[in-house]
Assembly symmetry: C2
Homo-oligomer: 337 residues x 2
Amino acid sequence: MTEFSTREWILLKRPSGLLAQDDVELRQSTITDPEPGHVVVKNQFISLDPAIRDWISENKSYLPPVPLGTPIWASVVGEVVSSNSSLFSVGDKVSGLGTWAEYSLCQEYFLLGVDESLGLPLNNFLSVVGPVGMTAYYGLLDVGKPKSGETVLVSAAAGAVGSLVGQIARIKGCRVVGLAGSEEKCRWLTEDLGFDASINYKQCDDYEAAIAEACPDGVDVYFDNVGGEILDATLMNINSHARIVFCGWISYQNALEDPLPGPWNMWQILAKSARIEGFLIHEYFTDFHKTVPIMAEWVKSGEIQFREDIVDGLENIPQAYLKLFDGSNKGKLMVRV
Amino acid sequence: MTEFSTREWILLKRPSGLLAQDDVELRQSTITDPEPGHVVVKNQFISLDPAIRDWISENKSYLPPVPLGTPIWASVVGEVVSSNSSLFSVGDKVSGLGTWAEYSLCQEYFLLGVDESLGLPLNNFLSVVGPVGMTAYYGLLDVGKPKSGETVLVSAAAGAVGSLVGQIARIKGCRVVGLAGSEEKCRWLTEDLGFDASINYKQCDDYEAAIAEACPDGVDVYFDNVGGEILDATLMNINSHARIVFCGWISYQNALEDPLPGPWNMWQILAKSARIEGFLIHEYFTDFHKTVPIMAEWVKSGEIQFREDIVDGLENIPQAYLKLFDGSNKGKLMVRV
């Protein structure tokens, strides 16, 4: 019997609002040999995502909530160090659902093999060729269905998902407009990523007018990462048969204790024969292998750029996690273990 | 020059809440020979629909608002009595966009010829083979896309659109559940129309539990005519990839002065990869001729039943119109001129 001594972040209580330091505790524990269908993964990088805020809440997600007293889930990438699975062997590099920990006990069902032949570093499998990149790809193309020449508006456009959405839309021949929270981010969108226009929403007191100006032909696809007032302002600018991709509403994520309603301008969905559609990237999990090489090619040819914000040290996770909510992370946030 | 002396209901001011008697006035006026592309229609039946409440409001619809001081629009069916159109001749029976009036000046673009060979009375062209029937048909099949064996939930199910939606869903092999506001209406749904179950929402203090009980396999398609609390309760019962057909939210229609937000359980759209989609029946106008014979066949074979609530007299329109909002109409509401 092999034992793996690990440190892991345990959920002590469900956060009210932002995650607080005393909601979690870093605890020493031991993982023994895995049961059938499971492997032990030595995590190298741990992804910090807004969705985790849902997972640790009561009853407000597509997964059952993370039980109190157990480690918090996250996307991870690392190496299999013990296997009781016919799919993965010791030494395999894998990505998938792990925990905020040095070692995670993982179900084979929630893991994918990392294709090392693509020549990309392991951390990229949590960003551009990981769930983030796949979210951008499938959310935009499969749900948003943009046509060449249409206008695609993206909120949180300098974020990990948003910046990729905009670039994929640009590759597909769309006019791309991004909303971001600083002049520096807005310049990055238009000067480096090829967005056609950007809106600094923190310097803007009339979202509706700003979107109208940046999208003179109206909005055909809105890739919505934030919800709230920007969604309402966008609804007033949508074209007939617009598609709103409901990817994640960060503005709602910290309001779970004090729920927020859907958009006030919902009637525009009727008036414009439009649609709001949710999607969950895990449903595309078994298709990732088809799309990872496409994204890898765009990365290597320079057509797609992206940023990673890598924080060192498992012990820094809770405090690093808050960067997602104050906008201070510069690219896909992850922790190097 | 021919002149048609007509009485018509003029919009004096925009209603606040329900339509009030002093928002409108019955006025005598004269219609002269039509301009090119126009005809004069002698109305035989005038349709009263919730959508009219939007049309007479400021800026809250898919059409520009009915101007103050002009007659209120409505779907009508009648006979062409004067034509300056190459599409319609004097004596043709037509249906389309007219006014609350004895005679309406109509644009040819907004009219359809009535197919008298189907052997249905003219009033049916405002109900089962008119915009109402087409709304049910295209909204359910084109937007809701139900598959045989799926569960279809319909609100305002004893209403003109809802009762047809449920029967078409039944014909397509779905389990059909309807929400209605009285025991008599609920019995009509299950005993006469072949609904599998019904919910009397006025005798129900927990919509969410009632829907769960009536839809043990969850809701795949929700045809939503009402919005509000029932939509929120339904959202808690939807299956993965559910489709919500946003047809008309009567609960919002009288709240235009005091806007209501979108659903509080909007997050379920993300959690279930579901969709809310609006649609406007006028976009299907040029396809009606394909579907009218299908509906007519179902009517003649007895597969589809429907009710019409015909009120006599142009002068009774404003008061008859209120029946839509207190639920006292028994079937598709219209006025015989």
